[in-house]
Structures are given as C-alpha cells and as structure tokens.
C-alpha cells in the first residue's frame, strides 16, 4: 500500500461517510439482495426482511469503505475517483478504517441476531472476499482481478434467499453465477474507455496489461456463459415463461452489444460508443433480469 493523500485537520462531514459507502453501487447490491429475498419460497416477517436488506446494504457500504481506505493512493491517481473523501483530503484514513470495520461488524452481528446464521455467514464471506481477496490481494496483481473479484458482488441474491429459507438452492446459485459472469464484460467495457485512468494508477486491468483487442474478445466470450446461466432457470423448470422469454431477449441484446465491442477496432476512448453502450446496458440488464424474475415468481406463485 503506497502513501495516501494527506487529510485536512477538519473532522470529516457526515456526508463524506455516506459517500464512503458508494451509495450508487449499493443500489444494485440492495436490489439483487431484495430480489433474492422476494423469489425465495417461504415467508419472512416484513421487519426481519427489511433488516436482512438493511444488513446487506450496511455490509456493502462497509466493504466499500474498507476498499477506499486501502486504495486511497490509487483513487488519487484516477480522474473518476480523485474526488472521493480520502483522495480529496476531506477525511483521514483512520476514520475510514474505523467506520468500515465498525459497520462490517454491525451488519454481520445484526444479521445473525435478527435473521439467521447462514445469511450472516455468507455476508461475512462476501465482505471478506471483497476486501481481502479482491482489494488487497488481486486488484494490484493480476488482470484477472475483476473475474475472481466479481464473486463479491454476486453474493447479495444468495444472502436474500438464505435469509428467507435458511439454506442454499439451485436458483440462487445460478443467480450468483450470472452476476459472477456478468462482472467481467461489465467492467471490461468500462475499462476500455477509461483505460488511461487505470494505466496512470498502475492497476493491471485486462485492457492495460493485455491490450484492448484481447479485452474486447474476452468481454465478448464471457457474455456467452453468462447468457447460458441467465437463461438456464427456465429450461430447468425453476421459473416460468415470463422470465424465460424476457431472459432470452435481454441476453440476445447483451450478446449483440458485446459482439459489437468484441469486433470493434476503435482505439480513441472518446469515440468508443459501443463500449459505453454495453456498459450502460449491462447495468440495465442486471436490474431487468432480477426484476423480471420477481415478476415471474409473483405471477406464478
């Protein structure tokens, strides 16, 4: 870990602690966790269901805070992240560390106390995976950082399901795999048009280490198993046709956009429309896939 920017002597604003939790990323995590909870068979008391989602959000926020605590030096070198509380000098690193550790402990203990131990255990694994495996171990060492680290973002649906059922079944595992396989094309599309940012910070993203051609191809190739896993619940009889047909449409569109990225030769980040389109669509795709799954489950319940 290199030296981080020096913080001002003023105490941080509460808004900076809020920013430390990456609220926008949390939205997606909360949504997938909520969908996992809603599609699970069985019943959970609304207060306990709310608590489970709150704990997922707190855990995600805590992991984001610890990630920024560790990566303050990297963040200060990238335009996209330079205005975060630590690199901008609005907060000292110790406050971020205490906040992250405290929030992690709170989220796990509350989940164990209010919901069940399996959900608390998976939440613990997801926080540790994001902080230790992705942030500390992989991110600065290998261009496969996103591939393996993607598992961290795939846990919420599993946690939501476990909160209701107290066990793990085939459907949430497929959802876990879908988010896991979705992460590489999503982040590699982003890394193609912010390549210079990652290069300046020395992050060995695929586009920095292997070049844009290999990155494009791999983003395209990863989209295939992702699509297969996303559509699989229908032929396996785990969902109804609403999900099945929607999943086919959503994934065919994803593959078409990924193909345009895969076969593009554009080298100027400012002109990378296909990459921006895939990145934007990939976010919509995840929201839509999980949303349709919930509609399907409620419809055929």
């Amino acid at each position: 870990m290199a030296s981080a920017p020096i913080a001002s002597n003023l105490p941080a604003e509460w808004r900076d602690f809020w920013a430390l939790t990456k609220p926008r990323v949390m939205t997606l995590v909360v949504f997938t966790g909520l969908c996992g909870l809603l599609i699970a068979p069985g019943h959970i008391h609304p207060v306990l269901g709310f608590t489970a989602i709150l704990c997922i959000a707190l855990g995600a926020g805590a992991a984001a805070a610890l990630n920024q605590w560790y990566e303050a030096d990297l963040d200060s070198k990238m335009k996209r992240t330079a205005n975060r509380p630590l690199p901008a000098g609005r907060m000292d690193r110790q406050s971020a560390l205490h906040f992250g550790v405290g929030l992690s402990a709170l989220s796990v203990i509350l989940m164990g106390f209010a919901v069940n131990l399996l959900a608390a255990a998976i939440l613990t694994v997801s926080i540790l995976f994001y902080v230790l495996i992705y942030t500390v171990w992989l991110k600065r060492r290998t261009p496969q950082n996103i591939v393996i680290g993607g598992a961290a973002g795939a846990f919420p649906a599993l946690i939501g399901w476990a909160a209701v059922t107290g066990r793990i079944d085939v459907l949430p595992v497929l959802l876990f795999l879908m988010v896991f396989l979705w992460t590489p094309p999503h982040f590699w599309a982003l890394s193609l048009f912010v390549n210079s940012d990652y290069a300046a910070a020395g992050v060995p993203m695929m586009s920095v280490v292997a070049g844009t051609k290999a990155t494009r191809l791999q983003a395209f190739l990863y989209s295939w198993p992702m699509a297969a896993v996303a559509i699989a619940p229908w032929p396996l009889g785990l969902t109804g046709p609403i999900y099945g047909v929607s999943a086919i449409v959503l994934n065919v569109t994803f593959l078409a956009l990924a193909a345009r990225v895969g076969f593009s030769r554009e080298s100027d980040p400012a002109l990378m429309k296909a990459e921006r389109r895939l990145f934007g669509y990939s976010i919509l795709y995840l929201f839509a896939t999980f949303g349709v799954l919930v509609v399907d489950k409620l419809w055929f319940a």
């Binding site: 003023l10 105490p11 941080a12 604003e13 509460w14 008391h45 609304p46 207060v47 306990l48 608590t51 709150l54 106390f113 209010a114």
Partner: protein, 43 residues
Amino acid sequence: MALDPNTETEIRRRQKSRAIVTALLLGAFVVLVYAISIAKMVK
C-alpha cells in the same frame, strides 16, 4: 496553538451535524431492535 475563529466555527459546525446524524441513527437502531424483538416473539 490557537485555531483561527473561522476554523473553530467550522469544526464546531461539523461536529454538531455529525452528532445530530449519529443521534438520529442511534434512535432508528433502537426502534429497529425493538421491532425485531416484537417480530421474533410473534414468529
């Protein structure tokens, strides 16, 4: 070393806003734990 008045005012303002947010969150946490306890008893 004495702080200049502007800095001191800014520090107090930040401390106050943090204290208010912390108090609100603690209050919400107490209500949540109470609600969880009731939900567990009902279950």
